[in-house]
C-alpha cells in the first residue's frame, strides 16, 4: 500500500512531516478541578482532574508525596463500530499505567504529601494517536487544575512507512502495521519521559523517526502554551483585571 505518493503527499493530503490539526478547549467539565478536551485531527480526548484531595483509601497514602491515579477509558461510540469493550481490559490498564507514569514524572508530587490526584481520560473519538492525545489532554487538565508541575509534558507519535518517517499517524496509517514510536517529552528541560515502540527498526532509522516525534512534541508544547496563555487572558477579562 502506498502511504506517501510520489508527489510526497499522504493519504489525507499531509506531507510526511506535518501534524494533523490541533484543537484544545479548557474547562469542559465544570465539576472537576481541571479539565480539557484535546483534538488531534479526528482523535478527540477529554481529560478531567480531581485533586489534590484527601486520599480515599488510607492504606495507599504516601507520606512524602502525592498519590497520582489515572483511569483511561474509551467511549463505546469512539471507534464507530458499535463494539462494547469491557472496562479494564489489558490495553486500557496498560495505557492507564503509561499515562500515570508520564504525568507523575512532571507533577511536583513532593509538594503535596498525603494527598491524591485523580486523572480521568476518555477517548471520545479514535483516529490514531490516542495515547499522545490522552497525555496532551491530561497536561492541559492538570494545568487547568493548577497542580504544580515541573514542565508541561507533551506527546506525539511518528511512524515509518514506505521508507519515510511520518509524523502523527492517523488510524489508517497506524493500522498499516509499521513501526509506531510514541514519545513524551518535557520540552523546557528537553527530557524524554516516555518512549514506546511496538516493532523493530534499525537504530539509525529509529533515531530519525524519534527525532521527528520529538519535534512534534515541541510543536504541541508551543500550541499548548498558547492555549494556556489565551485561557489565562480570558480568566483575567472575566475577573475584570
Amino acid at each position: 500500500m502506498e502511504f506517501v505518493n510520489p508527489e510526497g503527499l499522504r493519504l489525507d493530503g499531509r506531507r510526511p512531516m506535518e501534524m494533523r490539526q490541533l484543537r484544545a478547549q479548557i474547562g469542559a467539565v465544570a465539576k472537576a478541578d481541571g479539565s480539557a478536551v484535546f483534538e488531534m485531527g479526528n482523535t478527540k480526548v477529554i481529560a478531567a482532574v480531581y485533586g489534590p484531595r484527601e486520599v480515599q483509601n488510607r492504606s495507599q497514602q504516601i507520606n512524602d508525596q502525592a498519590l497520582v491515579r489515572c483511569e483511561y477509558s474509551m467511549a463505546n461510540f469512539s471507534t464507530g463500530d458499535r463494539r462494547r469493550k469491557p472496562k479494564g481490559d489489558r490495553r486500557s490498564t496498560e495505557i492507564s499505567l503509561v499515562i500515570r507514569q508520564t504525568m507523575e514524572e512532571c507533577i511536583l508530587t513532593n509538594l503535596m504529601p498525603r494527598s491524591q490526584i485523580d486523572i480521568y481520560v476518555q477517548v471520545l473519538q479514535a483516529d490514531g494517536g490516542t495515547r499522545s492525545a490522552c497525555i496532551n489532554a491530561a497536561t492541559l487538565a492538570l494545568a487547568d487544575a493548577g497542580i504544580p508541575m515541573r514542565d508541561l509534558v507533551t506527546s506525539c507519535s511518528a511512524g515509518f512507512l514506505n521508507s519515510t518517517p511520518l509524523l502523527d499517524l492517523n488510524y489508517v496509517e497506524d493500522s498499516a502495521g509499521g513501526p509506531d514510536v510514541t514519545v513524551g517529552i518535557l520540552p523546557k528541560v528537553d527530557k524524554v519521559t516516555l518512549l514506546q515502540m511496538d516493532a523493530k527498526l534499525p537504530i539509525d532509522t529509529f533515531e530519525n523517526v524519534m527525532q521527528l516525534a520529538v519535534e512534534g512534541c515541541k510543536a504541541i508544547a508551543n500550541y499548548i502554551r498558547e492555549v494556556l496563555l489565551e485561557n489565562t487572558k480570558q480568566l483575567e477579562y472575566r475577573r475584570g483585571l
Partner: protein
Amino acid sequence: MLHSKTFNKKTRGGRIQKLVREVYLRDDIYCGALFCKSCEDKSKARLTATASTILILDTNVVLNQIDLLENPAVEDVVLLSVVLQEVKNKNSAVYGRIRNLIDSPARRFVVFSNEFHRDTYVQTMAGESPNDRNDRAIRVAARWYQSHLGEAVKVLLITNDRENKRKATEEGVSAETIESYVKSLGQPALLDLLVQPASEDVIMEEVEDMRPSKRKVVYPEHKPMSEITSGLTKGIYHQGKLRVNRYNPFEAYVGSESIGDEIVIYGRGNMNRAFDGDVVAVELLPQDQWHEEKSLSIVDEEDEEEDVHLVPGSSDDAPRTSIPVSSSTFDTNPVSSRPSGRVVGIIKRNWHSYCGSLEPMPMPAGSGGLAYALFVSKDRRIPKIRIQTRQLDNLLDKRIIVAVDSWDRQSRHPSGHYVRSIGQIGDRDTETELVLIENDIDARPFSAQVLACLPPLPWSVSSKDLNESNRVDLRHLCVFSVDPPGCKDIDDALHCTMLPTGNFEVGVHIADVTNFVHPGTPLDDEATQRGTSVYLVERRIDMLPKPLTEDICSLRADVERLAFSVIWEMTPEAEIISTKYTKSVIKSRAALSYVEAQARMDDSRLVDPVTKDLRNMNALAKIMRQRRIQRGALTLASAEVKFQIDTETHDPLDIGMYQIREANQMVEEFMLAANVSVAEKILKEFPECSLLRRHPTPTKEMLGPLLRTAAAVGLNLDVTSSKALADSLDCAVGDDPYFNKLIRIMATRCMTQAVYFCSGELSPPEFLHYGLAAPLYTHFTSPIRRYADVIVHRLLAASIGIYKLPTIFRDRPQLTSIADNLNYRHRNAQMASRGSVELHTLIYFRNRPTDTEARIVKMRSNGFIVFVPKFGIEGPVYLTMRGDKGGGEWFVDEQQQKIRKMDGSVSYSILQAVKIHLEVLEPKPNRPKLQLTLL
C-alpha cells in the same frame, strides 16, 4: 515549527459503516507550468512556455491510449491525482507506464494533486455516483487550469465520454475526443496507435466481414460480474488463472482451488476470448463431454502445427502432456478423468502488448490506405489480433508490437492497435530484440545516475581496502579461477593448500560486489530490477555496468581483487572440519578455462603449484560428489548446445553439444558446497529474512510422462524419493549407450525449476532442494551476474557482524516481492537464452540442410516428436501429409508407446533411433521454419 499553513478540513463519509477521513486541503500545490506567474515553486514544473495547448486527460484516455501517450508527439499533459488513483486501481501496468512518463526528464508530463488543492477539491453531492463525482472533479480542475493560466494557453480536456464532454462544454471547458485531437495533429501514422473502440460504438466505417449483415455471434456471452460472484460462492463456477499450452494454443488449463484440480479447457470456443494469464470464471462441462479433444472445437482453421524448438530444460518449458491423442475409432475409454470446462466470464484481463508480424496479405485496393490486417504473435499462446493500419505495405515485412484493445462476441479475433515496429523480419538484430522484448528484458544502456555510483576508474585495491579491519589479506595464497573460455565476468576463484596436518584448506573466493553496490543507490535499484545478467548466443546483457562486471569485480588473473571468501578445513576424505567466512583481498595466479584446467590435470608431467592444487581439489570434489549422489542428488542431463560464432558476421559457424568435463564438475562441486555453507550460516542468524533457493519435489502427475515412457521400454523407475529415483536412473542401462542419458534428459524435463524464496514465508521442510538433495540451499557464488547472490552477500556480511543488515530485510512483503521478481527475471533470462539459441539454430541451418540421427520421444496421432541430440532440438515428424490428421492409416498403441501402420508393415516405438533430414523452409513469405522429415 513543522507546518505553518492553515488547512481547511473537510470530511467525507462512507456507506454502511460511516468512515470519517480528514482531507487536508492545501495551497502549496503548483500547476507545473514553467511560464506561470503565480506559482513560486518551479522545481517540478515541466509544461513549456511554448505550449499552446495543455492537455488534461480523463481516466479512460490514460487507461486505453497509453501507447499513444508514450509517443513523443503528445506533450504538455497534466495528470490529475484523481485520474492517477483510478488508473492505479484499474490497471497497475498502465499506472507504471504513466509514472515512467511523469518521471522521464525527456517528457513534459506533470501531476496535479487536484484532490488536495484548496480550489479544486470536490465533495460528493447527494445521489452522485463516484464516477460522476470524479468526472466532475476533472472538469473542475480543467476549469481551474484555464483560469489559473489565463487566455494565453488553451486548456483542453481529452475525454471520450460523451456525457462528460457535453457537461465540460456547458461549463465552459474545451473538450475533445482523443480521435479528433490526434487528427488535429496532422500526423496520420499516429492514428494507428489509437485504441480501436469496441465495435458497439464504432465510428469509422468498417470493411471486411464487419458488415452488420455478415456479423454473427461467434462466442457465448460473458456472464455479468454479479452472476459470476454468486456463481463462485455457490460453487457452480470456479475461479483461476488461465494458462494456455505453449505448444498447443487450443488447449488451456485453469488451476482451481475450489475443486483442487486443474480444469482443462479445449478449444477457442470454450476459452471464450480469454487470454493466457487472464483470471477467469470457469463452468465445468458435463462429465460425458470431458473427452473432447482439441480438433473438435477449433474456431478457425489456423495452421497449428508444432514448431521445432529447443529441448526443454524443465517442466516449465516443456509442452504440457494432455491425454495422449489416439485415433478415436479405436478409443475404448473415451471419457477422460480430467475435468474439462468452459470460460463463462473474465474476472481480470492480462492484456499487454505482443511482438510478432502481420499475416501476409495483398494490399487492399481503393481503401484510402486504410487496411485491416491480422497480427500473428510470436508467442503462440496469443490468438491472432485484428488491427487497422494506414501503413500496411510498410509493415508487412516488419516485426511489430501490437496491443489488444477489445474482443467482442461477434469477432473471431480480438482487435488491437499497432504500437511500433522493431525491424525487418528475419534480421538477426530484429529477432534478437524481439526475444528481449518478449521476455521483458531491459537491454538499455545504464543511466547516468547508475553510472555515477561506480568508483572512479581505473580502480585498484587501495591501502584503505587493505587496512579495513574486517578484510583479511589473502594475496599470498595460490588462488586461481576456472571458467568457460572467454569468460570476462569471473565471479569465483578457488584455492587449495595442504596443511601440515595432512588436511586441506580449501577456499572459495567470490567477487565482493557488495563492496561497490550499496543498498538504496540507483545502481542497486537497477540491479534489483534486472535481477540477472542475460546470456544470448552472441551477446550478454549485464546486470551491473561493464566496468564492474568485467574489471573491478571480476577476479581476473594477476591483479589484486576484493573477495568474500568461504574457507574450509577439510580432511583428505573431504569432511568439513571448520568453516570460516571473511572479506578478503586476493590475487589470482591464473584464469583457466575448463579445457585448460582439464588438460593440466591430465598432463602428468606438470607439477607446478596450480596444477597440484587442481589435482587435490579434483580428488576432494570427486569424493564430495560421490557423497552427494549417495544422499540422493540427481545427476540430470541437459541437452545444451554450443555455437561457434563468426567474430565478423556474428553468424553461427558450428553447433554442437556442450561437453561437460571433470573440471566443470569440480568447480560446480565447490560452488555447491559454498552455497550450502552460506545458506546454513545466514539462516541460523536470520531465520525470518534469509533468501534461499528451493526445488520442489515433483508430483506423481508431473513424473507421469517419464514413467509412461519408461514402462513402454520395460524400465521400472522408483520415484518415491530423489534417492530412489537417482538409484533407478543409475540402473537404467540398456544395450544402447545413449539410453541412460536420454532417460535422464526426459527426467529433467519433468521437474519444475528451483525458485528463490524468503525463509520467513515457508516452513523448514519446504526449504528442500530436491535435485541437489540438500535441505538448505542458496545462491552466493555469482554476485556479478545474479542479484540473489548480492542479497545473500549482504546477509552473510551481517551474520558475521561486519555490516548492518539493510532496512529492506525488515520488510518481509518487500523481500518476498524481490524474491518473486528474481524468479520472474531468472525465468525470463532463461527463456531469452533459449529464444536466442533457437534463432541461431534457424540461422545456422538456413544454408545447411543436414541429415542426422534423432530419437523418438513422444507419439502423435499422425507422427511423432523427435529429439535431435546433436543440436539439442526437438520437433515433430509427420508420417502423413499435413492437414490429413491421422486419416486412420496409422494407429497409436498407447501402452507400448508405438505407432503402427494399419497394415502392420511399419512401426515406430518410443526412444527408437531414426534418421531425419533437417532443412529450413519458407512455406509462407517471411516465415522461415525448420522442418524435420523422416529419411
